[in-house]
Symmetry: C2
DNA sequence: CACTAACATTTAGTACGCTAACTATTAGGG
DNA sequence: CCCTAATAGTTAGCGTACTAAATGTTAGTG
């Protein structure tokens, strides 16, 4: 393997490009989510719940690739915001049932606009975004092993 | 613009793929940096300083795309680790001169191995990584406007 | 049926990363 | 020159994100 004359050059590091791109794209969401009192990680939790609710903390963690210790306080904030309820599962008291409230379900209609606004702000073609998504998925497949 | 039947599907969100990929790749660095007492953001600061030292906080911020409020405490930790010195610039007392110590310069030789180990662990081809880097650079160009 | 191992979540502790407010220094205009 | 505006960093406050340790619940085994 040959990484060229300067393997440590900042502008060649995929890790640097990844973290800056991630922060920059999240920054696009900030003003769009702020009216709803949401942060981007909280928004991703709602995306997961809009696909299936209720779900346990562990299930959400596997879907969102988060440690339970990250989700636990986040879900409390979502509960405080009124978008979610937290209740121990009757069948297994170890598990927590995280469920959308009426407000949480209602928010989905509002949120449908967001992806369009983000793509618009980014100003990249859908083809380009799809190919980026595919490349990122290969990274995920690689890190999952 | 048409984002398909479910614009909010989690597995289609570029922002989700970006943040998970970023966290996953950083996780690869963790065991490699831990022996040196470094976190990944701190490692990126060193990459910047290895290219040019001393530099001011503002300069580092523009290079690394960080708010000064993020860098300020980070640089103190790097100083506590002994990799960096912090000193007000004589010419302009507002600016801080952040400079590598001998230990900071010496670390570079050790760090040269890291990119190879990361690419190895990732198990992706260099061509694939370069095309990913290019795609991420287009995102940065888009968000910079 | 008691005991222990496995499991699900929470808490504690550290380090980002952001916005907003604050301090100190320098530069510029009347 | 003085006064104000601009500039450079720091601090405070909040919300992730991680590891490790703690808590409480269930399941499995002798």
């Amino acid at each position: 393997m040959d990484l060229g004359p300067d393997p440590l050059a900042l502008d060649r590091q995929v890790c640097f490009a990844l973290s800056v791109a991630s922060r920059s794209v999240i920054a696009i969401y900030r003003p769009l989510l702020e009216p709803h009192g949401l942060t981007h990680p909280q928004y991703l939790v709602l995306l997961a719940l809009w696909e299936s609710s209720p779900r346990s903390v562990g299930e959400l963690g596997r879907t969102l690739r988060h440690e339970p210790a990250t989700l636990s306080p986040m879900l409390k904030r979502l509960e405080a915001l009124g978008y979610v309820t937290r209740r121990r599962a009757r069948a297994d008291e170890r598990q927590l049932e995280v469920e959308l409230t009426e407000a949480g379900r209602a928010l989905r209609a509002e949120a449908e606009k967001i992806p369009y606004e983000v793509v618009e702000t980014l100003g990249m073609s859908l083809a380009e975004l799809e190919s980026l998504h595919k490349a990122l998925s290969r990274v995920l497949a690689a890190t999952d092993r």
